[in-house]
């Protein structure tokens, strides 16, 4: 590609792709696979995301969940209400705090999210399949570090 090109390079040839584009692309493809897979469980992806966070980090309030996934408390309110109505979580007041309602997975909720995680391992392997096991571990380690690093900066503000 010449220094004066105008974005009309020949087919096949292209510039180094920006990382952010890669993440956006990865998200879109992975989302389409996930939506498809989770549909078997009649579970929308935003609800799965909420459940798997509680599974990984323990009971928390709707407001805390909202901060973790960077949506408004109102948006998370709808998501948590939906999984509560379905009996996947229960909410009880946190005695040590104000109005806070701690959402905890029910046995049904744990069973469902674990089944989903298990089923999604296939999708995960379709993504990681390009790498050998050693590379996979290293890749996940680096990815985790980057996400944590970015999360930390967002939460500073």
């Amino acid at each position: 590609m010449t220094p004066t090109d105008r974005g009309d390079s020949a087919s096949g040839e292209h510039r180094r792709r920006p990382l952010l584009g890669l993440v956006l692309n990865a998200d879109r493809v992975i989302r389409s696979f996930m939506d498809e897979t989770l549909q078997e469980f009649s579970l929308p992806t935003p609800e799965y995301t909420c459940l798997v966070i509680i599974r990984n980090y323990g009971p928390m309030s709707s407001a805390e969940l909202a901060r973790r996934v960077f949506v408004t408390p109102q948006a998370m309110g709808y998501i948590i209400a939906s999984v509560e109505q379905r009996g996947l979580v229960v909410r009880h007041p946190d005695p040590s705090h104000g109005r806070k309602l701690l959402a905890r997975l029910t046995p049904d909720g744990v069973a469902l999210v674990d089944a989903c995680v298990d089923r999604l391992k296939e999708v995960e392997q379709r993504f990681l399949g390009a790498l050998n096991p050693r590379e996979q571990r290293y890749f996940i380690e680096m990815f985790t570090a980057c996400v944590d690093h970015l999360n930390a900066q967002r939460n500073e503000a």
Copy 2:
């Protein structure tokens, strides 16, 4: 965490996070940074995505763009119409194909997308900042391989 836990592990302690959750989380945080940054250019992220793909791969039709980012042709139709109306791309019939309209960046379009890519490098570094330069190169290389691998599978179907 015990084998009989019910997702109520103590604070700080948690299971290994699923990769797909990492990607979703990364997408959400990066999207919030990108939306914010691109707002300086009054450019919605889906429109930026469309422009940067043409920048990287050369002129292409709306239908080709749609396949590349996994949205319906209709959805991409609105996006391309918007950037066309703004004078960032022009479309001309492809003589060698049917109804196809090839979208090509205008000089304004090239200037805008390059300015965005440059500005977004800061966001990129906030993400990659957790890694040293050597790790960054390796990470992007592995990420590219994974995304290409998954894209290839999606396009098989």
